[in-house]
Structure formats: C-alpha cells, structure tokens
C-alpha cells in the first residue's frame, strides 16, 4: 500500500478523506459525501457552471484549462448523447496522485462525474483507468456498484427524474491514451491514436457526441468546490489558480510523497521544507517541476510559486504536478536519455516529426552518453527538438522536445564533458534499450 505523508503546510481538501476508509460508501456519506451532487441536482446546470468558473479550478492533467469554461463549451442541445469522460490514464513519469485518489476516495470521482454530467446534460460518464491500475479499477468498480445500489446512479438518481450512468474502463498500457482524443479512440476499442482538432471533443467527442474530458484530480476536486463554495475554494489558491494541487514529490528528496498544497506554494519551500530537502544532505542540481515533459529548472530558478502562470513565466510548466528532484550526483545526459527513451517508446507513430524525432533523439543521446558524441551533435539534438515543436497533432511531440531542449540549453557544459570518448563522469548503468 503506497505510503501516505503529511506536512503542516498542507491544506487537505481533495485528500481530506484519505486514510479514513472512504472507499466504503457509508463512510463516504458520513464524511459529507454525495451532498454536493444532491445540491447540484437542485440548483441546475447554469448554477454549476457558474460556480465552476468562479472557483478558478483549472485542469489538473497538465494543460491547466479552466474546468468551468470547458464545460460551458458543450452545446445545450445535441442530437447525439453527451458524455463525461474521466481521464485516469495517469502515465506521465513523476505523477502518481490519481493512484491515491482512486485508492482512498473513489466516490469523490463518481460524485464529480455526476456533477459534470448534470452541468452539461449528459446521461453517461466513463471513468478510464490505466491498465496497470487493476487493483484500483476493482476499487472503482465496487464503488460504482455501491453507488448504483444506493440509487445515486441509475435511471432516477437521488430519487429524481434525472438519469446518470457510470461505466468504468481499463486501458492496456499506453501513455498516449492520456491525450484526450486518443483516450476516446481507446474507449471506442481502437488504437490510441489522436484525432485531428477541430472539431473539439466538446462538440464531437466520444461516439461522435459532445464530450467533456477531465483529469481524475480535476473531477475529484469538483465536489469540494461545490461543498466549500466557489469563492472559498478560489481563495485557497493564487490569482486565477483556484484551490489546491496534489504535488507528487519524487526523486532525491528525504520525504517523497504526494502532498496537497495550495496553488502557488513556493517550489523551493516544497522541496526543502515539505519534502525534507535533498537526500543525504547532497546539493540540488535540477528540478523537473510538473512531470517528465516539463522543462527542467535550475536551483536558482526554483524560488517561484507553483501555479500555472508563475511556472510558465519561469520558462517551464506546472504540468501534472509531479516534481522530480535531481541531486548533484546525477548525470543529466543520462536523465535526458531516459526521458527521451520513454517518449520514443510511447510515440504512437502517427505524426512523422514525433515518430522520427523521438527516435533520432534517442539514438543521438544513446551514442552521446556512450562517449561517441561529437560537438555538432549538441546542436543537432537541439535542432531536432526545435523542429518537433508544434508540428504534431497531439502534444506528445512537444512533450518529448521541450524537456530535451531544456537539458541541452541549461546543461550544455555537461554535454560537452561527454565529448571525445570521455566516459560519463557519473555513469554506472548503461541504458538498456527497451523493445
């Protein structure tokens, strides 16, 4: 069972029921659960969407798009059924927050899905979990069955005339399926290849119907927004970044874990106080602030508030909130290689700049790390990555190129130290090529 951590600076909203047995429906109700859904049922769609807009809740998957705004794009009238789709494909390296939500608070996901459904006028919601999360899928399936048994799901939810069904779904191993249109393809029983946009999912989505897709953490935050009131929720975070975030701090820290902190919480403080500092008293070398796809930050760049706008201003992204801390004993070339190996493995191969770009970047970095690099390779790596940016249908190409550019630009000296057959000053493990 994954270890839960705690720190006095935490503001426990989404995690407030963690470790309290809330996977059991009666316990969830005892802890205030399903009251928000009932309230939303009484208040109606316009009220819900206004609350969501006022809350400042932005998409927790990485893009940070305002959730209320996303919901408002769904047409009120639609010939085809509308759907809510919960993205629990959590696959961004450095990210394991949804893991804990499904484990400790599955009903919050269901309740958030119901509220999203009420807001857009959908009668059906899907909760998609990555295939590796089988034990969590089983927890979700039990929670869904319990919610049906109580009449919170079904043809007359909470004794009203409103229908809402929830269907759980498993993936089978694919990072790309975390991209919203690829997720819909996968749910339709196809290869997880992205769709061309527009049309956007809010207009033409799952089975061709208008669809709202939200990250599991976003959805699990929704009942709390309703419960606290939009203004109170917004006040917890920083301007235009409402509420809290489940920051997963991993890598070379003393106390790794998932901590719920207000949006805008200082990154330096997060590493040195909340997570107990760099392991073994070593020096900090770099921080990947929001999952493997976000550009690396140097120690002198981390005195920033962790919200979408401030991390953006610092030249990176808040992403999925996965903070990966790297100490001074780590080879950045090897780290860059491991990062690009992942994206090369996960590229679906549809767009050529991504398929070829990730492959060539992996080849270049493998050769480079093995000590066979040439000075021009450093510029070539940068050139390759720059030419992937913005040239693919989905963000996977950017997700591979952005961190690579960051490593090359900020650690050029370390790349140069690998030149001319010099052995990697850090290397212990030659990378195994995965098939």
């Amino acid at each position: 069972m994954p270890r839960l951590v705690s720190h006095p600076d935490e503001v426990k909203i989404v995690t407030r029921r963690f470790g309290k047995g809330a996977a059991e429906i009666d316990r969830y109700i005892e802890l205030g659960g399903y009251a928000a859904a009932k309230k939303c049922l009484a208040q109606g769609p316009d009220w819900i969407i206004n609350e969501m807009k006022a809350s400042g809740l932005r998409g927790r998957g990485g893009a940070g798009f305002p959730a209320g705004m996303k919901w408002s794009f769904v047409p009120k009238q639609s010939a085809k059924p509308k759907y809510v789709l919960v993205n629990g494909d959590e696959s961004e390296p450095g990210t394991c927050k949804d893991h804990l939500i499904f484990l400790h608070d599955p009903h919050a996901v269901i309740e958030g899905t119901i509220i999203a459904g009420l807001a857009i006028g959908a009668k059906m919601g899907f909760i998609y979990l990555r295939g590796e999360y089988r034990y969590l899928l089983e927890i979700m399936e039990k929670a869904v069955a319990d919610a049906y048994a109580k009449g919170f799901l079904g043809s007359k939810i909470f004794g009203s005339d409103t229908e809402f069904q929830v269907i759980t779904q498993t993936g089978a191993g694919a990072y790309e399926v975390g991209e919203e249109s690829a997720l819909m393809e996968s749910l339709e029983g196809k290869r997880g290849v992205p769709r061309i946009k527009p049309p956007f999912p809010a207009v033409v989505g799952l089975y061709g119907g208008p669809t709202v897709i939200n990250n599991a953490e976003t959805i699990a935050s929704v009942p709390h927004v309703i419960e606290m009131g939009a203004a109170a929720y917004a006040a917890v975070g920083s301007p235009r970044n409402g509420g809290t975030r489940l920051f997963g701090i991993s890598g070379h820290v003393e106390r790794p874990g998932v901590y719920e902190l207000p949006m805008g919480y200082n990154l330096k403080k997060m590493i040195y106080e909340v997570a107990g500092g760099v392991r073994g008293g070593r020096k900090l070398k770099a921080v990947v602030p929001g999952g493997s796809s976000t550009p690396v930050l140097l120690p002198e760049e981390i005195d920033i508030g962790m919200d979408f706008d401030q991390v953006g201003k610092a030249g990176s992204m808040l992403g999925s909130g996965g903070v990966v801390v790297i100490d001074d004993q780590t080879c950045i070339v090897e780290f860059a290689l491991r990062t690009i190996s992942f994206y090369q493995h996960e590229s679906c191969g549809w767009c050529i700049p991504c398929r070829e770009g990730t492959d060539w970047l992996k080849k270049s970095l493998t050769r480079f790390h093995a000590g066979f690099g040439e000075a021009k390779d450093i510029d070539n790596i940068q050139y390759l990555a720059e030419n992937m940016m913005g040239r693919t249908f989905c963000p996977l190409g950017d997700a591979a190129a952005m961190p690579t550019l960051g490593f090359v630009k900020k650690f050029r000296k370390e790349f140069e130290e690998h030149l001319n057959g010099k052995p990697c000053p850090f290397a212990k493990h030659p990378q195994v090529a995965m098939v």
């Binding site: 034990y135 701090i249 070379h252």
Partner: protein, 173 residues
C-alpha cells in the same frame, strides 16, 4: 457460444465476457478489456484467443491484432506465471531502479522479456507504473511492490516461487 469457446475460456471468464459486450453503448468498446481479461486467464493472446475475441466483438481477427499490437500490456507470446515488471523511468531510476533491475536479472537468470525455464517467472523493464513517490517500484502481474532495494529481491522471488509451488499442488478449480 460454441463448444470451442467453452473449452478455451473458463465458464467464469466466458460469463464475464458475455456481460462485458453489453456494458457499453457500442460493443466494440469491450475490445481492450476483453483482450486483457482473456490474457489474464490464458497467459497471452494466442491465435485461438484472437479468433474468439474477434467473433465476440464482431470484427475481423486482423482488426483485433491491429488494436492489440498498440498496447504494451498485451502480448502474443506466453510470459511467466509471475511477470516481474521493473520500472526504470526517471523517478525510479533516481532511487536505484537499475540496481534493482540488475538484481532481478541475476536472481532470475533472465533479461528483458525473458522467461525462466520452469515458466514461473518472466522479467520486463517497463515504463512508469504510477508509483513515483514510492520509488523504486515494481509490479508482479498486477501487484505493486514499493520502496524496494536490491536486498528485497530474493525475498520477493522466494515468495512468488512458493506461491507457484503451492498452487501446483492444488490445481485450478
């Protein structure tokens, strides 16, 4: 379902798959879970499994293969009874995943995607499994093992070997 179906899948799995196709607005949405659940029982996607799934969904075998080859958890060759999946992605790598992976290779005497001669274990280096804050982590089939050191490896291997032996004595019901 025909006689062959009954012999291919256990009655329990067959019943589960019967229900699965009715779960979604579109039958085809059952494809990926169906392949995974079939693989859980049979061990891999054999030709017979592919044919059976194609028939149940109502698509061609080629279409089934086209989809199945996309997903990294689906396989067309048998794995060990216990498939050890070691994550070596960044968060795990920083906390010693490669040492852990090497120790598993030594202990099991196999490499990436290898299967032990007795068929009890297979080994795989995998991408992020969503346990970054409890790194390094592995999965044995669907079970997570968190915060490991190479020293944990012999114990984990012995525990699963013991389980395999005790299950051999009591054949599947």
């Amino acid at each position: 379902m025909n006689q062959e179906t009954i012999t291919l899948f256990s009655p329990k799995l067959a019943a589960r798959l019967d229900a699965l196709v009715l779960k979604y607005p579109l039958r085809r949405s059952a494809l990926i879970p169906m392949l995974l659940y079939a693989q859980d029982e049979i061990g891999y996607l054999s030709d017979a499994v592919v044919a059976e799934v194609a028939e149940r969904i109502g698509i061609t075998e080629l279409d089934v293969r086209n989809v199945a080859t996309y997903y990294s958890m689906l396989r067309f060759k048998p794995a060990g009874k216990y498939n050890v999946q070691v994550c070596t992605n960044i968060s795990c790598m920083l906390r010693g995943a490669y040492d852990l992976y090497e120790r598993f290779q030594e202990e099991l005497g196999i490499g990436h995607k290898g299967v032990t001669a007795d068929g009890v274990f297979s080994l795989e280096e995998v991408e992020c499994i969503g346990a970054c804050c409890w790194a390094p982590a592995i999965q044995v089939n669907y079970d997570f093992h968190d915060e490991l050191t190479p020293g944990h490896v012999p114990g984990i291997v012995a525990a699963y070997r013991g389980r395999a032996q005790s299950e051999e004595k009591v054949p599947h019901a």
